[in-house]
């Protein structure tokens, strides 16, 4: 039986790991991720979840244990934040290179120094090039649904890559919302047991990840790239099928809102995408033609979807909860790169906002939209990157 649970995104992630019938969880505590693994520990200890919980001594070891378990043929899960994710960095490459469909929740938190426990996306976006699929969620229901969808996607033979499900610390991680936990039998029907890409057989032994000469290395990289392209095709299909079965659907790669006739499209990620919808409703009341494209999947990047948006819109304003020092936010960069080969491109302006947990409300976003529209009227973007609410 499906049930409605009112709980935090972190606890909901635990419910999702249980519903996905994860067999090995290896994790190390870090704020604000902790309650994910506390919930799982509770499920494992009270027998609700038939899994091994390995309480490792670091995040590097958490990912290593997941790699070992996945290589030995079981479904694995972990969760981390910020510095924990950075410590895993090397192992992230190893997981994708070994083509292991590990699913990890990243509770987004700003990187130090100085210490911060509040959210921005610089932790997960710094892992952009590790070969992990990246989802960004806007509410607790999406966290649950995306974790289930991610296993389906990652374990597809055409993909065999790991995925991180990103949710912003505190904004989602510790906020209670009602979430529908779908019927277990229906989840099982959607997500069959894990079948690994190879079979562990001592009579037909295989060596994995040994030394590869320049003669072959590029081909292995190309296979990961192709798998990403396959994922780009499969994510909307899986989202659609999921929607049919469970009634929740998220637009596949990009969650678009009132974009059809929009002159200005606000392009952002995570909870700012949800906030932007409220801003758009208010702006529309003022007669301003604004829409939102919430980038749900950052890797693979939805290049084609961005181009489609650009055909209609006269301007795209990106809002990044991230900064690549010396350049701009990654979203701004990726959107611009996506448009390079198109003619008649809209103006693109990048905003950096909400770093280290600074609040970005619908009012902030309304301000961003109005500023952008002013520049659109002038036909010229005055500043390539605008830092929002900056006090210097």
């Amino acid at each position: 039986m499906a049930q409605i649970v009112i709980d935090t995104a972190n606890h909901i992630a635990g419910y999702a790991a249980k519903a996905a019938r994860v067999k090995v969880v290896a994790a190390y505590p870090i704020t604000p991720q902790t309650t994910v693994v506390e919930k799982i520990a509770e499920f494992v200890e009270n027998g609700e979840m038939d899994a091994e919980y390995i309480r490792v001594e670091s995040e590097h070891s958490a990912m290593a244990a997941c790699i070992g378990a996945a290589a030995a043929g079981v479904r694995t899960f972990t969760a981390t934040s910020a510095h924990g994710l950075a410590l895993m960095h090397e192992a992230l490459h190893w997981a994708s290179g070994s083509r292991l469909p590990i699913v990890m929740v990243v509770v987004n938190r700003a990187m130090g120094a100085p210490w911060s426990i509040w959210p921005d996306l610089s932790d997960s976006l710094s892992q952009r090039d590790t070969g992990w699929i990246q989802f960004y969620c806007a509410d607790n229901q999406e966290v649950f649904d995306t974790i289930i969808q991610a296993y389906k996607l990652c374990e597809d033979q055409r993909v065999f890559l790991p995925a991180m499900i990103c949710l912003e610390g505190f904004i989602l991680s510790h906020t209670y919302m009602p979430v529908k936990i779908h019927d277990q039998e229906e989840i099982d029907a959607f997500l069959p047991p894990y079948k690994s890409g190879w079979v562990l057989d001592v009579n037909n032994p295989l060596t994995h990840a040994n030394l590869v000469s320049p003669e072959w290395y590029m081909e292995f990289r190309y296979m990961i790239h192709s798998a990403m392209e396959n994922a780009k095709r499969l994510i909307p299909e899986i989202d659609k099928e999921y929607g049919k079965r469970f009634g929740f659907q998220y637009g596949g790669l990009v969650d678009k809102y009132r974009c059809e006739d929009a002159e200005l499209v606000i392009c952002t990620m995570g909870t700012m995408g949800a906030e932007a919808k409220m801003a758009v409703d208010n702006l529309r009341k003022e007669g301003l033609k604004v829409g939102v494209a919430r980038i749900r999947v950052f890797r693979p990047f939805p290049v084609e979807e961005i181009r489609k948006i650009a055909e209609q819109a006269r301007m795209i304003a990106t809002i990044d909860r991230h900064i690549s020092f010396g350049m701009e936010g990654f979203l701004a960069t990726e959107v611009k790169a996506s448009l390079y080969h198109s003619d008649d491109n809209p103006l693109v302006v990048g905003f950096v906002a909400g770093l280290g947990g600074r609040d970005v409300t619908f009012k902030t976003i309304e301000g961003i939209a109005k500023k952008s529209l002013k520049w659109l009227e002038k036909g010229k973007v005055e500043k390539g990157t605008e830092w929002v609410d900056l006090r210097v």
Partner: protein, 301 residues
């Protein structure tokens, strides 16, 4: 106890492996499979064994093998052991096979964690007393005085005592070995396989490339290491320390050869002064006095 004739004929380290001529680690690997057969899942971090396998698309290993990051052997083995238990494949022995740098230095945290979690696996540290794969740099397991490429005038600090660090984790089984004593090594591996929990075996594997001696003398060097007492063969079973043959007959100093015989056979020690040699001899003698004390104790740590 097996005799050499009773060892299985099957080889799971195949011909054409890429170890240096006279590699002590290759002998130890061959013995590992003689002892455990092929019902093994091997986790290998960055180390000489990465090279010994041979490059893709070939392998010289006839057991399932997951190559892994340098510092992650213990943690990876934890994941493998958990998965095999869930899959009901507990007749497969999980073995972490790592070098001395991957054990005593960069991998000590993951190993310590795995031991504290009582992970059911055998961890073998094959110790050639330097980072061999990267061209002989000093490790925490390099002995005092030894030349390496990063200690060109000799290491000034003593070798880290890994077996006792592991014994302090209260693991059920710790042992030392040397491929020059193959039956001892095989018996220890087989005993380890029957014990539940973390088993740690530290095997000294002479390295002609790094220690600078003739490749034909690997077995002899290993024997001298034991006969001089610079390397002792022992077990620590549930805390109880016991010397194994032939080391158990060497408690009396007069039975041990002078360490000088071992040191002078290797060019890595050729710059040592008489005072250095005396210092090393003194430390070895102290170790043996300590071993004697430990033998009488219920728990050595």
């Amino acid at each position: 106890m097996v005799s050499i004739k009773e060892l299985p004929k099957e080889e799971y380290l195949l011909k054409g492996h890429a170890a240096c001529a006279g590699c002590g680690a290759a002998i130890a690997l061959r013995l590992l499979f003689k002892a455990l057969g092929n019902k093994v899942f091997l986790v290998v971090p960055a180390c000489c064994t990465t090279v010994i396998q041979g490059p893709y698309p070939f392998t010289s290993f006839a057991v399932p093998l997951q190559n892994m990051l340098f510092e992650a052997t213990g943690a990876t083995a934890s994941g493998v052991a958990a998965a095999l238990r869930i899959r009901g494949l507990e007749d497969i022995t999980v073995v972490g096979w790592a070098g001395d740098g991957g054990t005593a230095d960069i991998g000590i945290q993951a190993l310590s964690g795995a031991a504290e979690r009582e992970t059911n696996f055998i961890y073998v540290c094959y110790d050639n007393e330097a980072y061999g794969n990267t061209g002989l740099q000093r490790s925490g397991a390099t002995p005092y005085g030894a030349w390496t490429t990063t200690t060109p005038t000799g290491k000034r600090e003593r070798k880290k005592n890994m077996p006792f660090i592991m014994a302090a984790h209260r693991v059920p089984y710790v042992a030392t070995a040397c491929p020059s004593y193959p039956i001892d090594f095989v018996n220890k591996l087989r005993k380890a396989r029957e014990i539940k929990g973390t088993k740690y075996i530290h095997v000294l594997t002479p390295c002609p490339t790094g220690w600078r001696y003739d490749a034909g003398k690997t077995v002899e060097i290993g024997r001298l290491a034991v006969q001089t007492g610079i390397w002792a063969l022992y077990e620590i079973e549930n805390g109880r320390f016991r010397l194994n043959p032939p080391s158990d007959r060497l408690v009396d100093k007069s039975k041990r050869k002078p360490v000088k015989e071992y040191l002078t056979m290797q060019e890595r020690f050729r710059h040592l002064t008489d005072a250095d040699v005396q210092k090393i001899q003194k430390w070895v003698d102290e170790d043996w006095a300590h071993y004697q004390t430990l033998t009488s104790l219920e728990r050595c740590v």
